[in-house]
């Protein structure tokens, strides 16, 4: 069993093609709502409420390294010790992108997003993704320092899976910025939820993950640098 052994979607019942279709649809929406008047229409037609459930859609990331960098022996036995962490699914990442593009510099869409519960969901996504990226980076660092002898799973793992939490964190941060910029109610809500501490922890974790991925990440690191 390796450090980063797998991803399991909450939406396992969805076939791959349905997910692909939805991802394409969300990408089209993002393109459309990037124009302010379209974002107004999108908010008015209830679009943000309808995509809100996706902001919180997650996958399970198995990382054989604990929160403090300790090696875990077995994912099943150590599940409660933190071997399983959550990260945004591809659908969540795409829907956070739609949210950010709709809400940025747009009070109508930002207010609709707030009413749809965006602030707590985005903060949670930011924190979860950053933690997953940090843990994967620690696993990568341990593997690099051991010459890959403890486990080869990080290197064998799909580079796309490895960078997914980092992509999720980036889109969550994009959405959070769109909500908070000039949005006093959203700022107040974020403050009440400890958003400042989440942001500081996330930026620190993201910085560490970025440096580690660039240093040891091979193909994944190269993708992250794009």
């Amino acid at each position: 069993m390796g450090m980063a052994a797998g991803l399991e979607s909450d939406s396992d019942s969805d076939s791959e093609s349905i997910v692909e279709t939805r991802l394409a649809a969300l990408e089209s929406l993002e393109f459309l709502v990037s124009k302010r008047h379209n974002a107004d229409d999108f908010a008015r037609m209830g679009g943000l409420v309808l995509i809100a459930p996706l902001w919180n859609d997650t996958v399970t990331v198995k990382v054989m390294v604990g929160a403090d960098g300790e090696l875990l022996a077995d994912a099943d036995a150590d599940a409660e010790a933190g071997a399983l962490v959550r990260a945004s699914s591809d659908l969540a990442i795409a829907s956070l992108w739609v949210l950010g593009s709709a809400a940025k510099y747009n009070p109508v869409a930002a207010e609709a997003a707030l009413e749809a519960g965006a602030v707590p969901l985005v903060l949670r996504a930011l924190e979860a993704n950053t933690e997953a990226a940090r843990r994967l980076a620690m696993a990568m660092e341990i593997e690099a320092s051991s010459g890959g002898s403890t486990t080869a799973q990080v290197q064998e793992h799909d580079a796309y899976d490895l960078i997914r939490p980092a992509r999720g964190a980036a889109k969550a941060l994009y959405a959070l910025g769109a909500l908070l910029r000039g949005g006093e109610p959203a700022q107040e809500q974020a403050r009440g939820l400890g958003g400042g501490a989440v942001l500081v922890r996330s930026l620190a974790g993201a910085g560490y993950a970025m440096r580690t991925f660039e240093k040891h990440g091979g193909a994944a690191g190269a993708k992250l640098g794009r």
Partner: protein, 61 residues
């Protein structure tokens, strides 16, 4: 999809957007939303019929 591709460097301000563009975009967004993420049948039907604002909110919540 209509419109400029800002990812290729085109600006995407609102200055030169026609009413037709806006209506087309709204119709496209509505079409996408009907199938994503599979809203309840009554919501999908309302969306398809052009219902929006408070009336649609009442169905969603």
């Amino acid at each position: 999809m209509q419109g400029r591709d800002y990812r290729n460097g085109d600006a995407h301000e609102d200055g030169d957007v026609s009413v037709a563009d806006t209506a087309e975009a709204a119709a496209e967004m509505r079409r996408i939303l009907v199938g994503l993420p599979q809203p309840e049948p009554d919501v999908a039907a309302a969306l398809a019929d052009g219902v929006e604002g408070p009336e649609l909110d009442a169905l969603i919540r």
